[in-house]
């Protein structure tokens, strides 16, 4: 099954195309992930709206792939920046509708955890995405749990630094935290005994390549629509509550 995946939840615009065997052991037949070359400069805006479609176009050209040979689309549903999520999902829904393709929504946190496990197995994993405003989007997998098949022990949520410190302290010393949020809260996490790979490590990157693996096992959305995982209500609603 050939899957085209994209993610715009974090600062990077990630796209990937993989052939995944539908058997029990999903095996990768070919891949291209352009996200590595597209990290925005420090403090720069991600620019998903400008880059997403041209990255996909470039990917299809490089792999000499036509839309007719793609079997499934996958999109990261976050959590992440609200505008980023909407750019990715609005685009993915349109691509799916225009090509009559099944669409799967993939948790960006799950993909982050799975990607890190695949590259370098660790015991317990905390996936941490920068939620801005000094907070973090977090999900956690216990030691031995496989993000590919298992639900996270700590379901996705938004945490203040104090809450994150408590979660880190209770998750034990064999835990590894990955993601741009893990870099941002490195000090706090390491103080709690959690391991954080060095800043430039690929373990921190959201990779659409991993989305493909998750998407191969998921049930496509019945109506071609997927919901973003905002995890936060709009400020105006919070202010009124």
């Amino acid at each position: 099954m050939r899957i085209l995946a994209l993610d715009t939840a974090t600062a990077r615009t990630a796209v990937a195309l993989r052939d995944i065997d539908t058997g029990a052991n999903a095996c990768m037949l070919g891949e291209l992930d352009l996200s590595a070359v597209d990290d925005p400069p420090a403090g720069g805006r991600p620019g998903h709206a400008q880059r997403l479609l041209s990255l996909i176009d470039e990917l299809l050209q490089q792999t000499e792939t036509g839309w007719e040979s793609i079997d499934r689309l996958a999109v990261g549903v976050g959590p992440g920046t609200f505008t980023g999520l909407r750019i990715g999902i609005a685009s993915a829904q349109s691509l799916a509708a225009a090509r009559a393709l099944p669409l799967v929504g993939v948790s960006t946190l799950t993909s982050l955890a799975l990607g890190a496990q695949e590259r370098a197995p660790a015991s317990a994993t905390l996936a941490v995405i920068d939620a801005r405003r000094g907070e973090a989007f977090v999900a956690g997998w216990a030691s031995g749990a496989d993000p590919l098949s298992g639900e996270p022990a700590l379901a996705p949520r938004v945490l203040t630094p104090e809450q994150l410190a408590r979660v880190a302290a209770s998750s034990g010393t064999a835990t590894r935290a990955v993601g741009d949020g893990a870099i941002k809260f490195r000090e706090l996490l390491e103080a709690a005994g959690v391991e954080v790979p060095q800043d430039g490590s690929p373990l921190h990157r959201v990779s659409a390549r991993v989305h493909c693996r998750l998407a191969a096992l998921a049930e496509p959305s019945p109506d071609g629509r997927v919901e973003p995982e905002y995890l936060r209500r709009p400020d105006a609603e919070v202010a009124r509550a």
């Binding site: 400008q50 479609l53 996909i56 176009d57 349109s94 691509l95 105006a236």
Partner: protein, 332 residues
Amino acid sequence: MSGDGLILALETSCDDTCAAVITPDGAIRSNIISSQGVHDRFGGVVPEIASRQHLTLLPPVIDEALRTAGTTLDDVGLIAATRGPGLVAALLVGFCAGKALAAARELPFSAVDHLHAHIAASFLKPSEFEPPFLALIASGGHTLLAEVSDHRALRIIGQTLDDAAGEAFDKGARLLGLGYPGGAALERLAAEGDPGAFDFPAAARMPGLDFSFAGLKTALLYKVRDLGERETERRRADLAAAYQRAIVEALLLRVRRALQQTGARRLAVGGGVAANGPLREALGGLGVELDIPPRSLCTDNAAMVASAARYSPILAFPEYLELDVYATGERR
């Protein structure tokens, strides 16, 4: 122009989620507008809430536009979407969706300016109002006068320095306890009142073609305060009528000046405020050839975006893939 195919257009610049299909020669096949209505309790449009709603509403709105037009994407030859000005987060939903629809089918794409689109509402059948003309666009988001010399070009010669005319209606309505958005309710209440009962300012002494409604709103606020709760309640209809008259006069005065200054003999009116009865009546008395499209084409809609696409640059695949939206400051 787009050849033979239909034009599918999307518009999400503020709080209306819109999709429309028109023919290459400007006949409307469908014009679907899903007004969100979720902003009323906040007393104004909340960008984040509007954007979330757009993402949810847009796919079914596109489906309905195609279904109502009795067609499918197979018959679409050009995709268009509003690029700006507007709320960036809201614009991005429709603009990215439109670009992706076009890209997946390697169709041409047209990035439309929202203000051009309001004017292009007059180019649609049945109006087919031909340039040159003077255009007045007055809504909750914008208030401007533009010289339209041909289908592709507009030159803004006057615009509001503070509130938009529709905003002035809504804020006045709120001061009179009519809720939000209350422009239409204010007009209904005003019909029972005496427009001469109070003398609200129409910024008549402000020269030129720019508009200002902030002083008017303040004048109403002070008047309500002076009258006190009971007297305000008793004279609400008079207050509404006088307030409405001031807005209409402010608009009319600058339209007259603009007609004189440009020598235009023809006037097109757009924006939600164009639905206001006393304004239409006053404009009708100007003695110029007048085009006011039906209300569904005056408020934000996608048929006008499709119409503007006929007179905007058409980009072939893949030239448009990297286009972004624009907010252009406060003007929308």
